[in-house]
């Protein structure tokens, strides 16, 4: 709560000096430009001059997303592969990842603060936890949808369970696993804008520093969406490259 309070104090303080929501040290360079003073919809000049203030948070945001998604993917995949052969574990794991998924992010950060303190890990742990449910569920669905005849043929030709998994089941489950990964990436990019509450930075930092300055809000919004789209595109292209049989089928 202290962090939020500090932010709102800063905002209130800034309101006396120039346009509402802008800090004092921010306005004096730009008082002459009507756009910033009047808080226009999007001030191109200001955006161009101040682009570098978003670069750091952008890459920090990417770092948070990358660590969370990679960690979540590894954990969820391992859990799915293990419970694929030990079916009794599926309901408890679905339940556990489901419970994690329902914890509100802000509450999750504050729950962790006393344990992990302000910083990267306090953000990464909840974000990782949120990806588990999505990726775990999709991986299980993908494995369940592998055609029974392909599995039967694989076993009947003398594949061990491990060979069957690696050569037949995982490749054929990949489209659904990747679908889960894509949802996880996009939602993590969005939720990571709250990571500043955990003291981890990211694009949430500039956003909540000037939450009423429209140009700022749009800059953060555009950068967040761009990151989500770019990461999604990379995954789609990687998938097309790695799974030529899918292209062949849809041709």
């Amino acid at each position: 709560m202290t962090v939020l309070a500090a932010k709102s104090l800063m905002v209130a303080d800034a309101a006396n000096k120039c346009a509402p929501g802008l800090p004092a040290n921010f306005c004096h360079h730009h008082e002459t430009t009507g756009c910033v003073a009047g808080n226009g919809l999007f001030c191109f000049g200001w955006a161009a001059d101040n682009f570098d203030r978003y670069v750091g948070p952008f890459f920090r945001h990417f770092e948070i997303v990358a660590i969370s998604v990679v960690a979540g993917f590894v954990i969820a995949l391992a859990l799915a592969l293990y419970s694929h052969r030990h079916r009794a574990l599926v309901p408890p794991l679905l339940g556990a990842t489901g419970v994690l998924y329902t914890i509100p992010s802000v509450a999750f950060f504050f729950l962790l603060l006393p344990i992990t303190g302000l910083g990267l890990w306090t953000a990464v742990i909840p974000l990782t936890a949120y990806t588990l449910q999505i990726i775990y569920r999709n991986t299980l669905a993908g494995l369940a949808n592998v055609p029974a005849d392909a599995k039967d043929a694989g076993r009947g030709m003398g594949m061990s369970e491990r060979q069957l998994l690696r050569r037949v089941e995982l490749p054929l489950a990949t489209p659904e696993i990747v679908a889960g990964l894509r949802i996880a990436i996009v939602s993590t990019v969005a939720i990571a804008t709250l990571a500043f509450l955990a003291g981890a930075g990211g694009l949430g930092d500039p956003l909540y520093a000037q939450p009423t300055f429209k140009t700022n809000i749009i800059m953060v919004g555009v950068l967040t969406i761009a990151m989500a789209l770019i990461l999604d595109l990379i995954v789609v292209l990687a998938q097309r490259f790695a799974m030529p049989w899918q292209r062949a089928r849809s041709r």
Partner: protein, 387 residues
Amino acid sequence: MGHAEALSVAFQKATKVYPGADHPAVNELEVDVPAGEICVFVGPSGCGKTTAMRMVNRMVDITEGDILVGGTSVRERSPSDLRREIGYVIQQTGLFPHRTIAQNIATVPGLLGWDGDRVEARVRTLLQLVSLDPELADRFPAQPSGGQQQRVGVARALAADPGVMLMDEPFGAVDPINRERLQNEFLRLQAEVQKTILFVTHDIDEAIKMGDRDAILREGGILAQYATPAELLMAPADDFVEDFVGADRALKRLALLRVADIDLWKAPLAFVGQATAEVRAKLEGAEVPHALLVDSERRPLGWLSETDLQQELVPATPDISPEPVIDRDDVMRDALSDVLQHETMYAPVVDAEGRIGGVLSVEIISEFLGSKEALSEEHAAVERPTE
């Protein structure tokens, strides 16, 4: 090309009881399949035929009794090693959609750790063996038709040159015309590779056509009769077998005979550009009262009509289509059905290269059905429909 020795398969009171089931799925099955023969397991659904087949490569574990492959108990073998030595073909093909056709065929050689060159050479040989275009090697199996997919399935099962092949309704999902062709092709292939084949089907006609011996199973996995198709037709062991084989046994016997095995008729042949007078002369007193136009390779192009023969020279496009063209490896039953479907009296019979070998007429078939050969046993005479 050389082939590995085929192995015999012996079921010795092989029994399977599924956990929790009251009755065995397969009950003390005793069947000896000599090396190099096709044994068809046939019976109504629930008769345990697929279970019996899957016990051979331990896809289903034996509860009691034993199965010897090449004289060795399958229970003493590791399932993986055993399965890599036994070809496996299933109805839905089980092709891996994410692997190319070449990669699919190379599955077992890959598991056995063959080197790349050997695998590649083997794939090429197999594509040729099952009459698949080598161009298909790098395609994915979703692309070719159902018939081609099943050919890939057969090639994949043959890849490591197994001594035994298991085939579970391999042509069940293919349309009837393609099924007939695949069956003929497979029999030709088998004549070359001479594997021991355990073949499962619910279709008695397929069993009669494909099997050197058929094992008829009844509900509860009990063997009703194990005999050659001819024996099954002429001397069914009991009412169950008689019912299962069906009332049309005389007709079914047509499935035991290949077109190549009977004396065909000869039709006068005509070539494009020949004087029609010559052809008309040949027509007099010919067995088949129509002239068949063939190309320079003696492949049938069609029948010449009266109008065709009115012209001075034989035209390039005859009035009457040559269909149905019968493959000399077809069984008589399929040939008869083709002829009847086309509502014609005569059908040209061709060899594997499509060259004319003779003409099949409805009369030949009806003569055969009335002949001593078809009615040599009393049973058959009793079954003969009253006229």
